[in-house]
């Protein structure tokens, strides 16, 4: 009878003590139904083979394959996959450690969802002194994040039949072969499960990827190629660029020219001081939005209160060609949601961009960066990276946990990559601010726009929750950047009925699925 798990470990000249510890971490599993397939990739030292043979003799669940010639990690791993008899493959490096309950926790998760094909857990690192560090509490399944960063990492458990179906590891991606495999598995997996528990300790050894992401530059380059191949397979029009931050990538997507975009801006034509100069917010918002994009198939819809100074509207008319400008007078008491809804109803685009008037676009091709991911049918909404005028982070996605509704990384430095690159990579999140967000018109209609029962605050939280309720992903786009002069235009006073309304509709009492560490 085949075991539930085949723990697969390619071995090449590790320190003997850490190899023994890795083997022991499998032997001491609380879940007994496993086999360990150790493939020696012709280690120069006979002592390594001696350790492996001794382990094999000590436990009938351990099998050792000795390659006649060194073939590299891909060849050795594929030998192990060929030999594996388990229903699932668990990947373990020759110097790392499983927690004692790793396979038991995985087995329980598999029993709970028989369609699961790919599971991954949280992880941390173990240093030379045996102490743990760099705890990585991962997000639930986040396909966009996996295109920007190999975040699933360890411990990964994959259905053996599917691994064989996709052809196992590929030698042309050596160094990032696990990233390439995770991408190909994710394209076919029926269900992917994140285990919110550390089940793997990644050992830091000088020169290893755990110790230094720049130690293997060929691996970074291979990762870029793996993601490019993934985009090509999925028909996502885009090009992968290596990021200045090792281990992270940047994707430049393309937007079909026939897609029409409507930028909807609610305003009352107010002015204020920014960087020592007085400005009319809506005018600068539109000016920067248009000057920072080469995309031309767009219209600007300005929903203005009746007390908006006429000269402001004249200035707006001077910025936008008449055929691409829609001015909508709003005569009712202030209701941000209603103003946005009215603007969307007056627009004609396939894609809606909601833009506050107190922003200034900062990045080139922001519109393409923001809107292009909406070409993927399961992406329902995208949001931008917003900075305060002093360069600190205003918005990097919402996080909803234990009744808290917050901007993640709020007020932190905007010129650093953030924990696990979270400020420099596109990633799924629970919600985004409507100060700069994009949706397909069809999705906006499907969810009923912004709720008008929340006229000031949390309407974007509700919108985000509605979008996810309908089964769509929300993606925060790290490279669509703008300044948001939020505090300059209105107070942040929250009426108690606003969070109460959210809590009556939605259960936000648990952990955030995308940023569980918050």
């Amino acid at each position: 009878m085949s075991p539930r798990f085949s723990v697969v470990t390619p071995v090449y000249e590790p320190p003997l003590d850490v190899l023994q510890e890795a083997i022991d971490s499998v032997r001491t599993q609380t879940f007994p139904d496993w086999e360990l397939v150790l493939v020696d990739d012709r280690s120069p030292s006979d002592a390594v083979r001696h350790v492996l043979r001794r382990a094999c003799a000590a436990d009938r669940r351990i099998r050792v394959i000795e390659r006649e010639a060194n073939g590299g990690i891909v060849a050795a791993s594929n030998d192990a996959i060929t030999a594996a008899r388990g229903e699932f493959i668990a990947l373990l490096d020759h110097d790392d450690l499983l927690t004692p309950d790793a396979l038991e926790v995985m087995a329980r998760a598999i029993d709970e969802g028989p369609e699961v094909d790919f599971l991954y857990s949280d992880e941390n690192k173990i240093n030379e002194h045996g102490s743990y560090q760099d705890l990585f509490r991962k997000p639930d399944w986040s396909p966009e994040r996996l295109r920007n960063q190999m975040y699933t990492g360890h411990l990964s458990v994959l259905r053996t039949a599917l691994v064989r179906e996709v052809g196992g590891f590929r030698s042309q991606f050596e160094g990032s072969q696990d990233w390439d495999l995770a991408l190909r598995i994710s394209e076919k997996a029926r269900r992917i499960v994140h285990i919110r528990q550390v089940l793997y300790h990644w050992r830091i050894i000088p020169g290893s990827a755990a110790g230094d992401a720049v130690a293997k530059p060929y691996a970074v380059e291979a990762g870029g190629r793996a993601v490019q191949a993934h985009l090509d397979r999925l028909g996502i029009r885009g090009r992968v660029e290596l990021s200045p931050y090792p281990g992270a990538l940047r994707i430049h997507r393309e937007m079909p020219r026939e897609r029409r975009v409507s930028i909807v801006i609610p305003t009352r034509g107010s002015s204020g001081m920014v960087w020592g100069e007085t400005r009319t917010f809506v005018v600068e918002a539109i000016r920067s939005a248009l000057s920072r994009t080469s995309f031309t198939n767009l219209e600007v819809v300005v929903v203005y209160d009746l007390d908006t100074p006429p000269h402001v509207l004249d200035e707006v008319r001077g910025l936008v060609p008449a055929g691409d400008l829609v001015l909508v007078a709003f005569a009712k008491p202030f209701n941000f949601s209603e103003k946005c809804n009215v603007g969307v109803l007056a627009s004609s685009g396939d894609v809606i961009v909601l833009l506050n008037d107190d922003v200034q676009i900062r990045s080139d091709e922001w519109l393409t960066d923001l809107v292009a991911p909406l070409e993927e049918p399961d992406v329902g909404m995208t949001g931008a990276r917003l900075l305060f005028d002093d360069g600190t982070v205003q918005h990097a996605g919402h996080v909803y946990f234990e009744g808290n509704l917050r901007h993640v990384h709020y007020g932190e430095r905007g010129d650093v990559p953030g924990i696990f690159h979270s400020l420099t990579i596109n990633r799924e999140c629970s919600g985004v601010t409507a100060a700069c967000a994009a949706m397909r018109r069809a999705v906006f209609d499907e969810v009923g726009g912004l709720t008008e029962i929340l006229p000031v605050n949390f309407n974007d939280v509700d919108l985000s929750l509605k979008v996810r309720h309908q089964g769509y992903r929300i993606v925060w786009m790290a490279h669509a950047e703008a300044y948001h002069f939020e505090s300059r235009t209105r107070s942040r006073e929250v009426n108690p009925f606003e969070p109460e309304t959210i809590e009556s509709r939605w259960d936000v009492s648990g952990a955030d699925p995308y940023l569980p560490a918050q």
């Binding site: 809804n341 009215v342 709720t451 008008e452 509605k466 309908q470």
Partner: protein
């Protein structure tokens, strides 16, 4: 393609009469689309609230079951202890022990009395 008209003809007059009606129609249509949008919001909001309440009910049922089970187990344990206690009290060992410690118990009790030694 919008309809064309020849200036100064009867069609012009008809178009002039239709325009306000068109505007009114467009406004009504816009209003209806707005209502449809907000209606969808309300429906999704109600669905979400219902879903949240159902989840809360499931959780409370589970908690209720858990508490019932705990009470049942504690009752069973209490009953077992009562039975054990009765068995002890009816045993010869307990009776003999009680006879042996009775004088000491009497002394202890008398020391605790008001006005005692």
């Amino acid at each position: 393609m919008p309809p064309t008209s020849v200036p100064g003809t009867a069609s012009d007059a008809i178009a002039g009469e239709l325009e306000p009606a068109d505007d009114e129609l467009a406004a009504t249509l816009l209003d209806l689309r707005h209502r449809q949008l907000t209606m969808r919001d309300h429906i999704i909001g109600q669905e979400a609230e219902l879903g949240r309440l159902r989840a809360e009910v499931r959780h409370l049922r589970f908690e209720n079951q858990r508490i019932h089970e705990a009470v049942r187990q504690l009752s069973a344990e209490a009953q077992a202890l009562r039975t054990e206690n009765t068995a002890i009290r009816t045993s010869t060992t307990w009776h003999v022990g009680r006879v042996l410690v009775a004088p000491i118990a009497r002394v202890k009790r008398s020391r605790g009395q008001v006005g005692g030694p």
